[in-house]
Symmetry: C2
Subunit: 545 residues, 2 copies
Amino acid sequence: MGESLCHFQKKEGKRPMTQFQQYSNIQRLRQFCENPIDLTKEGVLSKERLEKMKAESCGFKLLYATERVNDDVMQALFDLGAEAHVLKKMHDMQSGEVINKIEGYESENRMVLHTAMRDFFEDQNQAKAAREASKLAWDEIEKLRAFMKEIDKKDFTDLVQIGIGGSDLGPRALTIACHAYHKEHRRGHFISNVDPDDATQVINDVDLSKTLFVVVSKSGSTLETLTNEELVRERLRNAGLNPKDHFIAVTGKGSPMDDPSRYRASFYIWDYIGGRYSVTSMVGGVMLSFVLGVDGFLEILKGASKIDKIALSKDMNVNLPLVNALLGIWNRNFLHLPTVAIIPYSQALLRFPAHLQQLDMESNGKSIVKKGDRADFETGPIIWGEPGTNGQHSFYQLIHQGTTIVPVELIGFKESQYSKDLEIQDTTSQEKLLSNLFAQSVALAIGQKSDNPNKFFAGNRPNHLLLGARLTPETVGSLLSYFENKVAFQGFIWNINSFDQEGVQLGKVLANKFIELFKAKKHKQKSDFDLGKNYLEFLEDLNGF
Amino acid sequence: MGESLCHFQKKEGKRPMTQFQQYSNIQRLRQFCENPIDLTKEGVLSKERLEKMKAESCGFKLLYATERVNDDVMQALFDLGAEAHVLKKMHDMQSGEVINKIEGYESENRMVLHTAMRDFFEDQNQAKAAREASKLAWDEIEKLRAFMKEIDKKDFTDLVQIGIGGSDLGPRALTIACHAYHKEHRRGHFISNVDPDDATQVINDVDLSKTLFVVVSKSGSTLETLTNEELVRERLRNAGLNPKDHFIAVTGKGSPMDDPSRYRASFYIWDYIGGRYSVTSMVGGVMLSFVLGVDGFLEILKGASKIDKIALSKDMNVNLPLVNALLGIWNRNFLHLPTVAIIPYSQALLRFPAHLQQLDMESNGKSIVKKGDRADFETGPIIWGEPGTNGQHSFYQLIHQGTTIVPVELIGFKESQYSKDLEIQDTTSQEKLLSNLFAQSVALAIGQKSDNPNKFFAGNRPNHLLLGARLTPETVGSLLSYFENKVAFQGFIWNINSFDQEGVQLGKVLANKFIELFKAKKHKQKSDFDLGKNYLEFLEDLNGF
């Protein structure tokens, strides 16, 4: 469009600039972004550029020649990372420093130790807090192994996870992603929504006598989860079954759910594991061990831990999550692009974008920095996406020719999961899938000139490719950690707290007020319930808050 | 943020303004948007405002007091609609005028008659083209009824739809939405992605001898669909079954797939039915009739047709899709908000946002107006969403406290689908669900003051509520048509062609080039296939294009 891509927000009043605005590399990058590289120029996507603009580790290649960056921009971005001490902050996080806090205000004041949940392999972090957290996590895995051994002897075919948000999206995304590796005759299901139809549909689909339920809530007080637990307990009782024989708990020690008299087994999580970072704790562990076996779950942990170590690397050709984070900063704060589309060319990653949506948006959708000042720059983008090639037949129209530019993170694998494929016209489906993946990356970057304005593609749509060999439990763990660490890096650069979620509280408070209104209404005039009328009355009453 | 919400794009060079920029009401609205209503002020959400800011028809209520509009804005928006002749254009569309075109350039030059696919009920459109299209559509429904009668006598338990984009997302969304109404022992599945794992997983889940496959492609030449069809035919042959006994075709007359020798039955669609508008044609008809019965499918059509008629109404208190379209124009072109989140508080609508993503973004993600000039304003937004209350535990953090404002369309129903619910602490799950729905609408609008910056909610997050009695086949049809007509109205106002999709072509062309490169590579060096290396070589070669 005509206007400069570099319209920084005006400063308001006399508030001092945040630290982010004061970094010298922000000034440098602001100059570069007045005139970003034009990818549509013939020859720009040269072999030299393609070979230079890449990072590689743990079997993954990140190819970013199709982003609107050049050497100077990348150097300034890495210098910005250094200026913001991102590697030290990452090390602090993994070592158990109390980084979940807002200075000078009431806040969670917690360590952030999801990386310790999988730090059982090489180069273990030696900090005391991290060691202790890993030890506790390993104890739970041993408990889990014993429990699964016992379950293996019984005739349980189905496990239903009852949880919401972080206790749902991540475990669900990974359970689906690893479907090709599920044990025979083992099925995993999820109930999340307080909508009663959600539970009904899942319950209708299983044989209750052969089904286990794992209830996951760190606080043990999540409205949706407890409601669904009660719904299921009622159904079990109605079927003549003892709920205790079927229920497993994953919760914090001392929570209202920490009550072994009601659960066949209980597993623990800790306050230093945020919901959206909890997949590799028992939050994901019970389900993933049920469908994959405990060893399959450990494969996931191994893959995740590998990337945690890579996230500590100074080498910009190796530290994949950092490169991705920096590209995101460029697109968000300098090219001012409000969203990021994450498009896995792998049907098994169907629900991965929904998990990443939570991971990223709940972590970095913030407006204050860690000292409590208002952010005078854009923070976390809106994350969305669906698998390719499906998306090509859907929203790609806008990505190619719309008026809002969408940076795209493309993900692909050399091999399919099942290796059941067919050559049609000399190429396999997998080759056709990859051809589409590569083609989109190039098409978005280079565009197309045409005298027919409807066949004109402006190009310069920033995108990059993350390529792996095959989606396995190990690589899905790496992928998970890649995004977790990307999000953390961006929070470090923006100097925001990526580990709390105060923004979800107001809705909870107001929902409880509505629930009270429902009750009051019910007792006064039980039969005359009109939704629209009620809503209006409710809202009217709300003015009194 | 500090800067004005009204930063219109600078005009480039001396190109004349588009018609949209010349509408007198655009000037009027531009003045209003300098100072939009502040929803956080005490008393703004008054009973008077709540009762005034609503529209109602077909059992749905649209409550938009929580949008940043007042009487003047709404009047100007309706005047803008009149100035853009939206009702005449809607009438023209439903009557079969050739509106899918770009004047002066090669384009599709087609009628747009998806509304005729369901115009079997009240107030039928009397235009000749519409009548003929409806007659043809009804003939297909009669064929379908006969076919289903025959199928009912056989032991087919599963139907797998093979299609992508419009032949997948809409039918899939509605099949899931109507799950509570499915016939017993009837299951619907979908294969869409060219990723071979997609087909493998579905095939593993069915008994092939009892499974039908419906292949859907208007052109009969969609790469993904034909590839998956061949994959399945191979699997049937390997199982000793005759593919012809299991395959049904939905395609255009004369397409490569229009070959009765290969299909047990064939149903037709026409060039005036765009993929993303095709759910109510045979594209959705075969699957929905299989799982719901033909009468269930007709319920969907009835609900859709009702809203088509409402879309012709001048009454701003009744024309729901028009009100929604105008609110969207305000948020997009005046408040400059780049995305729209659509959040159904109904788990059954799980995949509805994915369908709406295609419907809206493929229709209105365009950069030229119907005369071929470049749009000098923002067109279709990015559409995304997941069901509530799930979203509350995920991305709502950003919606409440992020730096990018997200308009939210909330959808809810008074009753659940299964009516299997439980009172816990004096309220049902459905009441808890609705309490959350109402609470979010209010919370987004009014925000919350706090001395703790982390507990501060700026409010003024525009949103509205669409409320219905219950999600049934009929109301899901209405919901579908509500969004179809909303999208059409926005295209009419922007004066863009919402019915072609040239933006998907470039990727297809390049994908074919990559497929050729794969073949060439294969024959030269079959064993040394390295994905990353290939990609680099491929891209290098691409410079020669």
